[in-house]
């Protein structure tokens, strides 16, 4: 995974805005790229985007909070996503999610205090044949059983 850019460094976000500003409907793309580079979208970055585009901060904030992919808080170093898509759900992904939260002491949508883990419930990741499925960053684990979870988490 590429190193994230510290929020103090506003040059990158300004460059992103400059690159897209003339494209119709560019705000989504700007937010996406900014989050890619910085890892999340704190208010400072949103304010910079609003200033650079000459639009109200409320408009940027309104869009950033509408979509679930945008996060205003930093995510963990290891992002766990347990698929709660229908195919995974009917094959028992809810107990998997509970087990993960149980071991890590996490709550869905939040990051552990040490910044190591964050846990999310995701929708179909397209690997329904392997249901139930869990992802840790880019690694996919399929045909899971609750029993395997501790061993998988220990590897990180």
């Amino acid at each position: 995974m590429a190193e994230l850019i510290p929020v103090e460094n506003l040059d990158v976000v300004k460059a992103i805005v400059a690159e897209h500003r003339n494209v119709p409907g560019c705000l989504m793309q700007i937010l996406q790229e900014t989050q890619n580079d910085y890892g999340y979208l704190p208010l400072e970055l949103q304010r910079t985007i609003a200033d650079e585009l000459g639009i109200p901060l409320t408009e940027v904030y309104g869009v950033a909070t509408f979509y679930s992919q945008f996060t205003l808080k930093p995510k963990g170093k290891y992002k766990i996503g347990v698929c709660l898509g229908t195919a995974c759900y009917v094959r028992g992904s809810q107990p998997i999610l509970e087990k993960v939260n149980n071991i890590l002491g996490t709550v869905v949508g939040e990051t552990t205090a040490d910044g190591k883990w964050s846990v999310d419930a995701t929708r179909c990741v397209g690997a329904c044949g392997l249901a139930p499925v869990m992802m840790i960053n880019d690694d996919v684990f399929g045909r899971l059983t609750v029993k395997e979870i501790p061993t998988i988490l220990e590897k990180y």
């Binding site: 979509y67 229908t86 149980n102 995701t122 179909c124 044949g129």
Partner: protein, 599 residues
């Protein structure tokens, strides 16, 4: 190209990639070099074959031998046996019925026999990252035919005559939609074509497979639509969660531009067309067409009131055609083979085929394309290979969060748009989830409502507040706190939401609840009146007991119990005080000897 005596297809769909198919490709090339046969054998990484359950999947032609669950460690033997010695490696060949018969060709498999591939014709056949392969399979000849021999109205007439209806859920006639946008006027002449690749149904991946397996067919179809309505600019709105699809589509767009198949003056005509990808950001409601357009415009993805309809005032206020990926995936075949041919497949009012993502409690999880009119029974038992572990079929869910559950008594329903609506479900985009006796229908209804409630954009109160009320009631029923009248309250709320919500999300959100009440009322009643979950899912309704014969008296469970409901003497069987137990399930997980059960 030199003559290749054999061709190895490795599935590079998301399912197989997840189970490691890319490492197989590398290893395979290494082995082919080692045996010095790399020049005689072609290795092609394709999109999804459909049988993702068995991944990673490898097919070797000309025989068409289907190898399943292939691992890196198998490759050496596979190359030596099949490719060097010419003996198929039966150990890895998939046996469908577990009867030891190893079919030598994919055509013998029940999974493929009843299918008819139009939208998926190239998926799992060509390398999606190579435009030459698409061209080799007749690619871009449909747009050539259109540009050189047909008027825009001819194209629209052909699509109308084919009877093609939208595959994104609603089933609106595609030709008619194009006609509206064709007839609409735009002050500055600008019109748009948009592809809906948001694929919001949380258990489905049809559109993704087309994007990953055959991206050029989408590009070609969108160009045809653009010509038909008089547009020169298109957008594909793809879910952000689909990185492989986005990458392959971008590669395809770049290659098409290089070949002059996108851009200015295509085939030396005065038709120009350019295509751009836009990414979604995780909002289900953005699959709704007007919300999607807001999102492309960089705004909050809230639906717009209609009218005006997108055909007149759509993206950036211009006349717009918006279709689903699979809808587009049918276009080139209709142009090349003719409307009559297409209309000969399917039922009276639903022509052609439908792609389904079959999942849940089914042996052959995967992607399939069937002629409209195929029965659910054929899908579940012949193509899907039945239910695993000898369990009984309970219901099939179609239409995702907008659809309903179909009970066993309706397995012989012929699948088409109208029949599914008549039995309280809908076609939807193609998610088809099978459930067995271990799935609780009340819990499933709760699952879908939890989803729609969470995804409601909040713009209109009936949806925002109504779905919340319904969810509260369902949660209460699942927790054993249901009271008399809850079923009727759910039905009343449902009718209210359906009648007054602004967009399709709210209007259809109650469907999973209504259909499960309709077909599985007894399960609701068991939860509410007997405080029992017949399927054994709702854990608040289960009793926890310790098996005296196998309990070793270690006391581990007692330490884990948050309410001190477990007691006993060391080395003697422990017991649970049901009056104290809050049914959290911790003890079951904790017992190292599996001595605790719930029922």
């Amino acid at each position: 190209m030199a003559y290749k005596r054999s061709q190895i297809l490795i599935c590079g769909g998301t399912g197989c990639t997840s189970s490691g198919s890319m490492n197989l490709a590398k290893e395979l090339k290494k082995e082919l070099v080692k045996h010095d046969i790399i020049d005689e054998i072609e290795v092609v990484v394709t999109g999804c074959f459909g049988l993702c359950e068995l991944g990673p999947v490898v097919i070797i032609y000309p025989e068409g031998t289907f190898y399943s669950r292939v691992e890196v460690a198998d490759i050496q033997e596979l190359v030596e046996e099949h490719l060097v010695k010419g003996r198929p490696l039966s150990r890895l060949i998939y046996t469908e019925k577990g009867d030891g018969h190893h079919p030598l060709s994919i055509n013998e498999l029940g999974f493929f026999k009843k299918q008819k591939r139009i939208a998926l014709k190239n998926c799992g056949v060509i390398n999606p990252e190579d435009i030459d392969e698409y061209l080799g399979f007749g690619g871009y000849t449909a747009i050539e035919k259109v540009l050189l021999t047909m008027s825009p109205q001819d194209v629209i007439n052909e699509i109308k005559a084919s009877g093609l209806r939208g595959r994104g859920g609603g089933g609106f006639p595609t030709g008619l939609k194009w006609q509206f946008a064709h007839d609409a006027t735009s002050e500055d002449g600008v019109k748009y074509v948009v592809c809906n690749a948001d694929e919001g149904d949380p258990g489905a991946f049809m559109d993704r497979s087309v994007l990953e397996g055959d991206p050029h067919s989408l590009i070609e179809a969108m160009a045809i639509a653009a010509y038909a309505i008089g547009s020169s600019k298109g957008y594909v709105y793809v879910r952000a969660e689909y990185p492989i699809a986005v990458k392959r589509l971008q590669i395809a767009i770049d290659q098409a531009k290089d070949y002059g198949l996108l851009g200015n003056n295509i085939f030396d005509t005065d038709f120009s067309f350019d295509l751009e990808i836009r990414l979604g950001a995780g909002a289900f409601v953005c699959g709704e067409e007007t919300a999607l357009m807001n999102s492309i415009e960089g705004k909050r993805g809230e639906p717009r009131p209609r009218p005006p309809f997108p055909a007149n005032k759509g993206l950036f206020g211009k006349p717009t055609v918006l279709n689903n990926v699979e809808t587009y995936a049918n276009i080139t075949a209709i142009i090349l083979n003719g409307a009559q041919w297409f209309a000969s497949v399917g039922t009276e009012k639903s022509k052609g085929t439908k792609v389904f993502a079959l999942g849940g409690k089914i042996n052959n999880t995967g992607l399939l394309e069937i002629p409209m009119g195929t029965t659910l029974r054929e899908i579940v038992y012949e193509i899907g290979g039945g239910i695993p572990n000898g369990r009984a079929f309970k219901a099939a869910q179609t239409g995702g969060p907008s659809g309903g559950c179909i009970p066993a008594s309706l397995l012989d329903t012929k699948i088409d748009y109208d029949n599914l609506i008549a039995i309280g479900s809908m076609m939807g985009s193609g998610g088809l989830i099978v459930m067995d006796e271990d799935n609780c229908m009340v819990d499933v209804a709760r699952f879908f409502l939890d989803f729609t409630q969470d995804e409601s954009c909040g713009k209109c109160p009936p949806c925002r507040i109504g779905t919340k009320r319904m969810l509260e009631i369902l949660e209460r029923i699942c927790e054993g706190k249901g009271i008399e009248g809850d079923i009727e309250r759910l039905q009343e709320l449902a009718e209210g939401i359906k009648a007054s919500a602004l967009c399709g999300l709210g209007q259809t959100a109650p469907n999973p609840v209504l259909s499960t009440i309709h077909y599985f009322r007894d399960e609701y009643e068991a939860h509410i009146f007997d405080k029992k979950c017949p399927a054994g899912v709702c854990k608040h309704l289960l009793d926890y007991t310790i098996n005296e014969d196998t309990c070793k008296g270690c006391g581990i469970c007692a330490k884990k119990c948050p309410v001190e409901a477990i007691s006993g003497e060391k080395k003697k069987p422990f017991s649970i005080d049901l009056a104290k137990c809050i049914k959290c399930g911790s003890c079951i997980e904790a017992c190292p000897f599996g001595s605790i059960s719930r029922a």
